[in-house]
Symmetry: C2
Subunit: 260 residues, 2 copies
Amino acid sequence: MVKPLIFISNDDGYKAKGLCSLINILRPIGDLVVVAPKFVRSGSACSITSDRPVRIEELCKEEGLTIYSCTGTPMDCVKLGLEQAVTRIPDLIVAGINHGDNSAVNVFYSGTMSIVIEGCMKNIPSIGFSLCSFNRNADFSGCSTYILKIVRAVLHNNLPLGTCLNVNFPSPDLFPYKGIRFCRQDRGHWESEWCADNHPGGLKYFWLAGRYVSDEPFSTDTDQWALTNGYVAVTPIKIDLTAYQLLADMPYWNLNDDLK
Amino acid sequence: MVKPLIFISNDDGYKAKGLCSLINILRPIGDLVVVAPKFVRSGSACSITSDRPVRIEELCKEEGLTIYSCTGTPMDCVKLGLEQAVTRIPDLIVAGINHGDNSAVNVFYSGTMSIVIEGCMKNIPSIGFSLCSFNRNADFSGCSTYILKIVRAVLHNNLPLGTCLNVNFPSPDLFPYKGIRFCRQDRGHWESEWCADNHPGGLKYFWLAGRYVSDEPFSTDTDQWALTNGYVAVTPIKIDLTAYQLLADMPYWNLNDDLK
């Protein structure tokens, strides 16, 4: 029987433990093609590289597993990988396992989720996995059963056109997890985002830091709530950003009056 | 009377003609604080800079207009600008005018729209303006009346929480424009995205290129249709990406069975 073809990428780079863990978890159930960034690309969002050329290099090829590194962003990895590294359209795109939380609005900043969004644009079922730990040596073993379950379910059920999954695991400190919660994206924002310091030459510079603050800390149906309370958060997301209610209301603004 | 405080940024950099045009258009109706990237940051999406420090430099300060450059991404410009360059929360955030189309799924790749998305996360009414021309010396004069109309309308009506506007102008070749269309985001994707070439040393490299292909070329309510047909496309977007229909269906996948 032909195994499903699973395309894998991440934003922490091809050497990351999270990527290695994901490969080990999925290897028994799919033929894997990995195209991961040569350099760490955390926080690269959906950025693309257009001001310089991009390269791809085969690092390893064995039965059921090929690994490439790519000098571009995670988004470039998908775009170039799908043109150069596979001979047919993958059955699934999987990103991660990210070292760090990508729940709530952080999906916008996330290189991991850019892989998923690009897959979704190309009508390929796509899932991002992230762990709430920035530790380079984080323990991903608690994710294994859940990832297999979710990946098998998506291969079986498919995903509706224009939708994809953002899966976040609570901190390993909360393992064993309490199960899966289907969630909506928490509404929140970042505060106190910069640490200022002075260059020896005198000029001030700023390091991005800050803390995420939920705007709805008492809601129990959000991904943030699930993660804080020890559940694996599965947030289905869509790439049609249209605000349909506002779209219905805007004609009453009469913006076309007096324009001509 | 106190003029509204308008925060402006872009992704083409502080020297771009589109930014200069936007400043000239909005100067009569607001006090402007501009924090724009020092370098060209086209296609930077919502990327943030966490691996190196960021700097901000005041370039110009006169009655009703202060301009800063910032070494970070457009997203950094908003985050740092709101902490360092303004003394109160702006009444409005405006991005652009971008040299190039940001309609349809391109909102995901767009540095211009990242400014708008960040503003929206921070609950500040935010609008992005883009022109369908990559010409560095493009003619933005046809945008002026529309921008004033839309900005005044948003200052007057406000925008619902979690929503913002993506405004795209057709190519200047289609001026005079036929008016404003309220649109939904076109569904589409990029094809044939890479041009391969050989390095003198022998290694292959790839330039990102490609063409956008609509998946629904016969729909007349999309931003792509409006732009092709000479209308200014106003697409209201929201930052809650949750796919609510899929969220309602997922419990039937029974993912929690046998997990424990």
